[in-house]
Symmetry: C2
Subunit: 380 residues, 2 copies
């Protein structure tokens, strides 16, 4: 974070909490008797309530999308490149809301929260939640904040899926819908990668069937491995070749210790995995991957995606990145084609990038410029 980008940021942000005491009926048939959401807001809500934008986070994201948590904080929120004064999602114009989803591990009710029934962390007993459940909980938050309609719902990856779900579940609520690097449902290969990540976690003896907090431990090795798998799918092969190539970690092979990393790329992946393992809850990771696997926008209309989108009234922006092989440009084109077939207003762009799926989080000039220009049509 350079001094310049810090100057253009929102500064210090304090998260808020909201408690919801009405039961949330989940798609699984289970019920959350009450729940809490942690969220951040940026900018000011207009008296007419018409300038609110919902930001939906992805697998490992949270409510901290922009700004810093203290003056000393060196790392801004995960989408600080996109959200802030004068940025594409301009906090001088919009009131931006970003909650941590239920099932998360950053303050909203999730597997690591204490269950009132048992007095212990939910752990393995926390119910599976879905993209649809998140939409319901986000609607509760909107009402809590005095919002009756979103000027836009915006998300990348799993966040984009929530934006899509909003547009069809509550069409009157969504005037603009921005779906970045997402898909209408996972492929078998996508599911397979998620399953490998889950198996890595389940295979760790410290998983304890999901009740590791109660056992005073954590499946950190399994989580590290799960993250290595995930992280690999976020980068493009070309980008990895450019960054790491076949560079050796210590300039030579070290055949005496086969468990140490030899190549730089091994060392990098291990570091990413072990860092993530200390900050993210394993049950949340499993739950998020299951929510991803289960999302299937066309399922309710017998696989007809255009039919599923029929009742949406939003204007859509669909973006993909050329080197994204997790949710490839073809998946965004499926969404775009279905929207066109359903007679919707839609702008689609496949942005040239070497950064793979991760591009949606990065300050790629064409991407930021396009998003900035498109957001001008969102009234505030």
């Amino acid at each position: 974070m350079t001094a310049a980008s810090r100057a253009s940021s929102l500064g210090v942000i304090k998260p808020d909490h909201a408690h919801f005491s009405d039961a949330l009926y989940l798609e699984s048939g289970e019920v959350l008797d009450e729940f809490e959401l942690v969220y951040e807001t940026y900018g000011a809500l207009q008296p007419d309530g018409n300038n609110a934008i919902l930001i939906c986070h992805a697998l490992s994201g949270n409510h901290h999308a922009a700004g810093f948590h203290s003056e000393a904080d060196t790392k801004p929120g995960w989408w600080d490149t996109v959200i802030g004064p004068g940025k594409p999602i301009d906090t001088n114009r919009f009131f931006v809301v970003c909650p941590n989803n239920i099932g998360g591990c950053n303050g909203s009710t999730g597997p690591a929260s204490i269950s009132k029934t048992t007095g212990k962390p939910w752990g393995s007993l926390f119910p599976q939640v879905t993209v649809g459940d998140w939409v319901e909980s986000q609607k509760r938050l909107a009402q809590h904040l005095g919002i009756n309609q979103w000027a836009a719902v915006v998300g990348g990856s799993l966040g984009g899926m929530q934006a899509l779900q909003w547009s069809v579940t509550y069409p009157d609520w969504v005037t603009h819908c921005v779906v970045i690097a997402a898909a209408p449902g996972l492929t078998a290969q996508n599911i397979a990668f998620n399953e490998i990540a889950r198996q890595a976690i389940f295979s760790d003896p410290d998983w304890c069937g999901g009740d590791y907090i109660d056992a005073n431990t954590a499946p950190e090795k399994g989580m590290a491995l799960a993250r290595m798998v995930g992280h690999l799918t976020y980068m493009s092969a070309d980008n990895m070749s450019d960054r790491f190539g076949r560079e050796l970690r210590q300039g030579s092979f070290d055949p005496d210790d086969d468990e140490q990393p030899i190549f730089q790329v091994e060392s990098y992946l291990r570091y990413q995995g072990s860092q993530f393992a200390t900050r993210f809850d394993a049950n949340t990771y499993v739950l998020m991957t299951r929510a991803l696997d289960r999302f299937d926008l066309a399922a309710s209309s017998d696989g007809d995606l255009a039919k599923a989108l029929e009742h949406a009234s939003a204007e859509f922006l669909i973006l993909s990145f050329s080197s994204d092989w997790r949710f490839s440009p073809a998946r965004s084109r499926e969404i775009t084609t279905a929207l066109l077939a359903a007679g919707k207003r839609v702008t689609y762009s496949n942005l040239e990038s070497d950064a793979g799926h991760d591009a949606f989080l990065l300050e790629e000039a064409d991407y930021i410029a396009l998003l900035h220009a498109w957001m001008q049509r969102v009234a505030a």
Copy 2:
């Protein structure tokens, strides 16, 4: 295996063993004082010894390339589609030799063998071997069999790398060289996938630092996970979508047990992983992935692949498969371009296939026909 394909097979094959009591000096600087190779041969060696073909196996392969091990055996060798009477590698014309490589786990000296020094399984003490070391050991086997030149050296994937290495290390030995679905060296992404597989094994408590046999256990969970990762890279995304799509295992979600597979593709991958874990040695898997990572044909000529191939005298056949993303067609084109730049005789074809990397093991009609036609030029 249908009755028809069994009829066209070699029938029952008995593996042979050869013991080599002269030390093998490894690229790592370590020494194997002696070693044993298990191998199979098909067809008859001509008195002039000019009709011998070497088959090099890939990561999880072995010496059992064709035929059956008993009358009751229902599963033929791993390349029975390619090797046999009237097949592309025609055992009516050629004397075909296929050894299990050193470091393997199917009978050749490897980590599970008993070390004469300790009287215990080698385990973690088995030295890292390389593609170059395999070429040396295969040359010893050739001399043992009275062979002074290969009519062809043939391999797919890691086997193709051995064929390439043969062509430059012993140009006088190799008159034809067939390199299928291979690469001149691994990319950062390739290495990353191998590293995830290794971490899966190392993270298993039953790994015991590689000395699991001595501890009377085996890291089967880690191996299953490693194989799931590997297997995923052998299949194309389209092929997985065609085979599994989003099909549910029991027709519905089962949110009560999050550790059970929900989708068919999860169930399939778990089965593949667990089956492999019972039949393959974990140290061998680690060793094979390291050998893959380290292979870099151009390293000895400062990254100039054409220069590395300068002294080869073989005629080359290079084949790739359109949907292979483990070793993509681009990697085979690198080899082909370098061979052309070095003035070598080379035929290259990128075969249309949905089967991904695995295509090289399958009976894909265009592939078999092309290989069959090309092999006609190999004198026997």
